[in-house]
Symmetry: C2
Subunit: 201 residues, 2 copies
């Protein structure tokens, strides 16, 4: 029998298990037994903690998003120069490769967000927060005279996040020539004309 755990610990385990199960089978293809298997439990135990599977799935998506965002903010904190910050942030928004679990999870939401309002709200809120993150970098750079913005920072920030998103999809779909490095270069090409900075490190 699986080792017994406290309520909150087990719930965290299950959220993690659900995350993996979603990546493997898709938001609409995942089933109770998949989650149970990932967690090393029986379906009954999963149901004991989450009588409603969809609720668990939403929590898993939420946790995955939160983790992704926090990770980006944390990496950002190691730098002070706006140009460095910008480059680092672009990198941290892209998957490390086709199998990157965090981006895979977010991508799963894309289609479902059109059908399910809850997922739509989650994804939209992540997008907006990422935009704010970029906007802060751009505004700081402009204030310091490092950047000469080609249009308002909100527009540029929205486009940068949009580019990340899209290349995330391309990479996880295994585009034969667009990998993480190529995607960074493509986004940087826009960032350069948008900031008037050559962004070389």
């Amino acid at each position: 029998m699986a080792k017994r755990k406290s309520r909150s610990d087990r719930r965290l385990d299950l959220i993690e298990a659900a995350r993996k199960a979603i990546v493997r089978h898709g938001v609409d293809g995942v089933q109770l037994s998949h989650v149970a298997e990932e967690a090393g439990l029986t379906s009954g135990a999963v149901l004991y903690h989450y009588p409603d599977l969809t609720e668990l799935l939403v929590e898993a998506q939420h946790a995955g998003m939160e983790r992704f965002y926090e990770q980006r903010v944390r990496r950002l904190a190691d730098f002070t120069d706006p140009a460095e910050k910008l480059v680092v942030t672009i990198r941290s928004g892209l998957p490390t490769g086709p199998l990157d679990p965090d981006v895979r999870l977010l991508n799963e939401l894309g289609g479902a967000a059109g059908r399910n309002r809850v997922y739509g709200v989650l994804l939209t809120s992540l997008y907006d927060r990422q935009v704010s993150m970029y906007q802060a970098i751009l505004d700081t750079g402009a204030a310091l005279g490092v950047f000469r913005l080609s249009s308002d920072s909100l527009t540029i920030a929205r486009n940068l996040v949009a580019l990340e998103d899209a290349y995330g999809y391309r990479i996880t779909a295994r585009h034969p020539v667009i990998g993480p490095d190529e995607a960074v270069e493509l986004i940087l090409s826009y960032a350069r004309v948008a900031t008037g900075h050559d962004l070389t490190l």
Copy 2:
């Protein structure tokens, strides 16, 4: 009893029905009975034409993509001025609203493409063709001296398609402030600095 139809007619009906069913339930959530209902038939009849449901789903996705792409090419043909072509093409790559069925269908593929190679290939090929479409417009404009490109046309074209994709997701996810018109403006903002053309019509 549903009116009897020829083999090829019925297959077209089913592809259309599958398209609708996918939009409604997701690639991984769609079931035989959903397709049958959309087509006004029983599951048995669907199975008679497509013994394997996944094959029908792939055909539906393929048809949807093809239609989307052909539509864009067709609209493009009505214009000669590269600047006009560019603006029209940007518009035609975005959903008309959150419910746009063509874009909804494509978005469904995003997540599945990470798990399913066939969907990955489909989506990648659509992306590449769209890139070529933009590249032709950009190259022509540059050759005519209308555009002064800020980087190579391939890079710009890739970014333009990427932006379309991403805003397609935002719009179908019902972003409260980014609708079709706002997305066009955002993409145009990039297109302007990339082409050195003000792109006003």
